[in-house]
């Protein structure tokens, strides 16, 4: 508004002087130039409109659209790659967990297997030892019985020898056996 006022003030003060000075008055109001200005304006603005609407604007619009599409597809690609990487990492983690479980199972199996083997060996040894002990006990018993049999013979010999010393006459074997059995029978 102030600019309008300034213009109006200026024109009202300057115009009368200027009208006298310049041919044809105030140039913007000189109607003889209107046709030429309109002609050149139509020509230049028409050219500009054609250049902009046919060449420049579709091209710039295409550039902007292409950039948007590029950015969008790049972003989509990036998020896809990220998802793939995450899936891969998850897969690796799973494989690792599986391998760990496997290793544990194998270790466990080996442990139980070796324990079983040791158990089997120990029981075999124990059985063997027990059998040997039984055999040894049997042999001791046999030896003992055998020795006890020998003791009777020795006692018989000793009895007959003692009696021979005392009576000067050797007793019969049957009498000695009878006497010993009688003594045992007490």
């Amino acid at each position: 508004m102030r600019r309008f006022l300034a213009t109006a003030l200026f024109l009202s003060s300057a115009l009368p002087v200027l009208a006298a000075e310049t041919k044809g008055g105030f140039p913007p109001f000189n109607a003889s130039t209107f046709a030429g200005q309109l002609f050149w304006l139509a020509l230049t603005f028409g050219t500009l409109y054609l250049l902009m609407s046919r060449v420049a604007l579709p091209r710039v619009g295409a550039i902007l659209a292409e950039r948007e599409a590029t950015i969008e597809s790049s972003l989509a690609q990036a998020s896809k790659a990220q998802a793939a990487a995450e899936a891969e990492a998850q897969g690796l983690e799973q494989a690792l967990a599986k391998a760990k479980a496997n290793a544990q199972a194998i270790a466990q199996e080996a442990r139980t297997k070796s324990a079983r083997e040791i158990d089997a060996k120990r029981s075999a040894v124990e059985k063997d030892l027990a059998a040997k002990m039984v055999a040894a006990e049997a042999s001791i018993n046999e030896t003992k019985t055998k020795a006890m049999g020998n003791v009777e013979d020795i006692a018989k010999d000793a009895v007959s020898a003692i009696i021979e010393q005392l009576s000067g006459k050797a007793p019969t074997a049957a009498a000695v056996t009878k006497a010993i059995n009688a003594a045992r029978g007490e």
Partner: protein
């Protein structure tokens, strides 16, 4: 021509024939005005066509400029009219770029500001209103004139309201053309006046000591005029968008 030493701020608006051309009895001479129109178109074309020629995904300087201009006008247009307004995009874009380039080129010392002539701004305003009328009538038929009939107004008031709406519609091209014309004209006159003050004071002996004062003002005004050159192109464009919005959505 003014005598040396006197202030003649109007001389810069004079149209000078560079190449006299006469077509069908009309004076169609190639003038300084026509020359600067051609330069405005050439500069805009350089940025928009040459700048976008490489079609690179990562833009260079000129392509950035072209994209910035594209997005600026596209955002302005869709912000006011919505997506449907994009069919007028080439028109609105050409309008903005022409007015903006003409205003900015006018800031070059010794150049000619084509938009400081009322016939040019009036032609643009009439073009805008014609496009609005044609688009409105083609798009909505007689329904377009519902624009002049506000809803929710008591019956006895309606004739007055319609009258006011019609007057406001008719005054649109007038205000549109006068705003741009007045701003460019006044700004350039003010610049010239303060510039001439500096020269006059320097030539006036002891008073020359005061010469920096109008010089400072001229510098400040130059900065302001650059802002105005952009702002008026923007205002012209956004008002065009607002009027186009009426043609696209006539209901109040």
């Amino acid at each position: 021509m003014a005598q040396p030493g006197t202030i003649d701020p109007i001389h810069q608006f004079e149209i000078q024939k560079l190449v006299p051309i006469n077509l069908f009895g009309f004076d169609m001479s190639f003038t300084n005005s026509a020359l600067w129109m051609v330069i405005a178109v050439a500069v805009t074309t350089l940025v928009m066509v040459y700048g976008s020629a490489s079609r690179s995904i990562v833009p260079g300087r000129l392509q950035s400029l072209a994209e910035m201009a594209y997005e600026f006008v596209a955002n302005t247009l869709t912000g006011v009219t919505g997506r449907e307004g994009m069919k007028f995009f080439p028109f609105v874009f050409s309008l903005f770029m022409f007015v903006f380039a003409a205003n900015m080129l006018g800031m070059i010392p010794g150049s000619f500001t084509t938009t400081s002539h009322i016939i040019v701004t009036a032609a643009f305003a009439m073009l805008v209103i014609t496009v609005v009328l044609v688009a409105g009538i083609v798009g909505h038929g007689s329904h377009f004139f519902g624009l002049f009939v506000p809803s929710g107004v008591p019956g006895w008031l309606l004739p007055f309201m319609v009258l006011i709406e019609v007057v406001s519609f008719v005054s649109r091209p007038i205000s549109l053309s006068l705003r741009l014309f007045g701003n460019m004209l006044a700004g350039h006159i003010a610049l010239k006046v303060f510039g001439a003050f500096v020269a006059a004071l320097l030539g006036a002996g002891a008073a020359g000591i005061l010469a920096p004062l109008p010089l400072l003002l001229a510098v400040a005004l130059t900065a302001l005029e650059f802002l105005v050159a952009f702002l008026q192109a923007y205002v012209f464009t956004i008002l065009t968008c607002v009027y186009l919005n009426d043609a696209l959505h006539p209901g109040h």
